[in-house]
Subunit: 100 residues, 2 copies
Amino acid sequence: MSCGKKCAQIAHASVSAYEKSSTQVKKAWFSEGQKKVILKVTTERDLFELRSLAEAAGISASIISDAGLTEIPPGTVTALGLGPALSENLDRITSNLSLL
Amino acid sequence: MSCGKKCAQIAHASVSAYEKSSTQVKKAWFSEGQKKVILKVTTERDLFELRSLAEAAGISASIISDAGLTEIPPGTVTALGLGPALSENLDRITSNLSLL
């Protein structure tokens, strides 16, 4: 994927996970600077495993499948949005991943 | 900026513009597939001019300044989130821009 395409997937994931969060979590995250961290995984399976871990920890999680109008086939899983959540709780799930 | 850094700016811009929108606009956009287009500008001034045009057209707009913790100086203006809005209304403002 081009960088622009990656940006679009990240935007989808961010808005989707954000939308699933409670009003209280949204407000807390806005008041604390809306920290975001962009990480990469090796396989599609990693995304589903991370989603399971997040959901078990009560963290909002949203898998993104692309419509496939440009660059990649329809239905390709491209990203996972997690949070907002406390950094320490997200780190427990994602601390072994590298920055994109 | 690295691609990961650009992704983070786009995510900020998307969530911020989305959050400023009305519930009705949010729902309509979700039901229609959440289309996103990632475009580039030449100068910081372009972002402020686009924001003015969007606001005059009643389109949600959100300028992003980076906290400057990585890669760029604090306060650097990095992105502008526009919408959600009807494609035809956004195109009126952004149709001369290229894809990122």
